[in-house]
């Protein structure tokens, strides 16, 4: 996986240096924004990819998020954390993109639900495990099922799950993106995990235990 979660003290330094870059951008120094783009692109990409499930959409979300951040930067001033802020913008746009994608898919004769995610070499799943044919087959099947299960979540559920489980966002941040209360956001996280469990338990319960399966942890 890419982009580690920064440690607390590291995050503090980054936030301070971000604040300086924001100030300089607002003072007309456009290149100062470049620092922010280069620093946060990987994290925003990871969020966008997990939400949209495919690379072209994720890349579009990243670009759009930074463009919107630049345009709205004047409103950012009072806030403290640029990383959190640009995440929220990206998540909002990713939801729009998912909705748009759904409409496009609906218009097609054959809805290719999980084909997009298969662009990566499935072998990446078993990077550090010996790829026996059985394990490989199992992983490919499981991977397919996980993509189907994620795609079956509502946009809100997928957003809540990605932001909470994978990105470790605060529930208030999620609530703001979902335009809901904190309680409702918590409930959405729960429903997402419940649905994923319902869909995937049969595939992880038997055979190779899921936790032993080539994860880098």
């Amino acid at each position: 996986m890419i982009g580690m979660q920064p440690s607390v003290e590291n995050a503090q330094t980054i936030a301070e240096s971000d604040a300086v870059a924001v100030k300089r951008t607002l003072a007309g120094e456009r290149d100062a924004f470049r620092v922010l783009v280069e620093r946060h692109s990987h994290n925003v990409f990871r969020l966008a990819y997990r939400m949209t499930g495919n690379r072209p959409d994720a890349e579009e979300v990243v670009q759009e998020a930074f463009l919107r951040a630049y345009q709205k930067l004047g409103k950012f001033e009072a806030r403290a954390n640029f990383g959190t802020w640009v995440y929220r913008i990206a998540a909002n746009y990713a939801i729009d993109r998912m909705r748009q994608r759904k409409k496009e898919e609906a218009r097609k004769v054959e809805p290719a639900v999980h084909e997009e995610g298969m662009e990566n070499d499935p072998v990446t799943l078993v990077q550090d495990a010996k790829p026996t044919p059985e394990r490989l087959a199992h992983n490919i099947e499981l991977r397919k099922q996980m993509e189907i299960a994620l795609a079956a979540l509502s946009h809100s559920e997928r957003t809540a799950f990605v932001m909470r489980h994978w990105e470790g966002c605060a529930i208030e941040e999620i609530a703001e993106v979902l335009k809901s209360s904190s309680g409702a956001a918590k409930n959405t996280v729960f429903r997402a995990v419940q649905k994923l469990r319902l869909a995937l338990q049969p595939f992880v319960g038997k055979g190779t235990p899921a936790r032993a399966m080539g994860t880098e942890s």
Partner: protein, 263 residues
């Protein structure tokens, strides 16, 4: 013993449960619920193997290159260089300008509300913004008044513009100084607008005190043709915005420190 619900276990696992301690106590004592939590974790662990493609080490640079052509200009290019703190700090000519601005006593008349914590750069920046903005504002007012000048009596053959003339002369001196500084600093855009303004000011200053309505009309047309009023107004407004932006707002701290799910 009442077992934990699926909801309680999932919210506990995702770090969003309000009864964290209670659930932990129960889990420590109940093997059945521990097993259930393990089944939930097995699904989540499988999901955690979902790869995210690495967009590449230079992805940030790539994103920047892609968005650069679409980024709107935050400020008009030809005067933003004036407000670059790095430049302001080093320019002797600008320092001279600031001294002039101070002597003119213009700055001290502006709002100053105990900003003792503002950095030297910020103060310099604000002073320059105020000085140039003030100059442009007065130039604008003079040109508007001149454009609106009309004979007091319709039968009058001449219009007296001496008041505007003497103001134009004062503005000319300042304008030259600003224009020269802009030229020295390679701010050709700003220099060119100030140059245009200067020619108009010169025309006004060198006109006879009494002009005929036809002569006045000529001056008016010249002002209009060059669009100088519009340019001056645009720059003046931008400067006002900058002035607001560089006046520090009361410090605000983000109170919601996000609780992280994972270490």
């Amino acid at each position: 013993m009442k077992h934990m619900t699926e909801e309680e276990l999932i919210t506990y696992r995702e770090g969003i449960s309000a009864q964290r301690a209670e659930i932990a106590r129960h889990l420590a004592a109940c093997q059945e619920c521990r097993a259930e939590l393990e089944r939930i974790e097995a699904v989540l662990a499988a999901l955690d193997t979902m790869p995210v493609p690495n967009p590449g080490d230079d992805y940030g640079r790539h994103v920047w290159q892609q968005i650069t052509p679409r980024l709107p200009e935050r400020t008009a290019r030809w005067w933003q260089a004036w407000f670059d703190p790095k430049r302001l700090g080093t320019l002797a000519s600008v320092a001279a300008l600031l001294v002039m601005a101070f002597l003119a006593g213009r700055i001290t008349k502006r709002d100053h509300t105990g900003n003792d914590v503002a950095s030297t750069d910020q103060i310099r920046e604000r002073i320059l913004v105020v000085a140039v903005g003030d100059h442009l504002g007065r130039s604008e007012r003079m040109l508007i008044e001149l454009s609106n000048a009309a004979p007091l009596d319709p039968a009058q053959k001449q219009v007296n513009i001496s008041a505007e003339q003497s103001r134009a002369e004062d503005l000319l001196d300042e304008n030259r100084m600003y224009r020269q500084t802009a030229l020295q600093e390679g701010d050709t855009g700003l220099a060119s607008v100030l140059d245009e303004l200067e020619r108009v000011l010169l025309d006004v200053a060198h006109s006879p005190e009494e002009v005929t309505p036809a002569q006045l009309e000529k001056i008016r047309q010249k002002i209009e043709a060059q669009g100088i009023l519009f340019k001056v107004r645009v720059v003046g407004r931008e400067l006002q915005e900058r002035q607001k932006a560089t006046t520090p707002a009361p410090a605000q701290k983000n109170s919601t420190e996000s609780e992280r799910n994972k270490a």
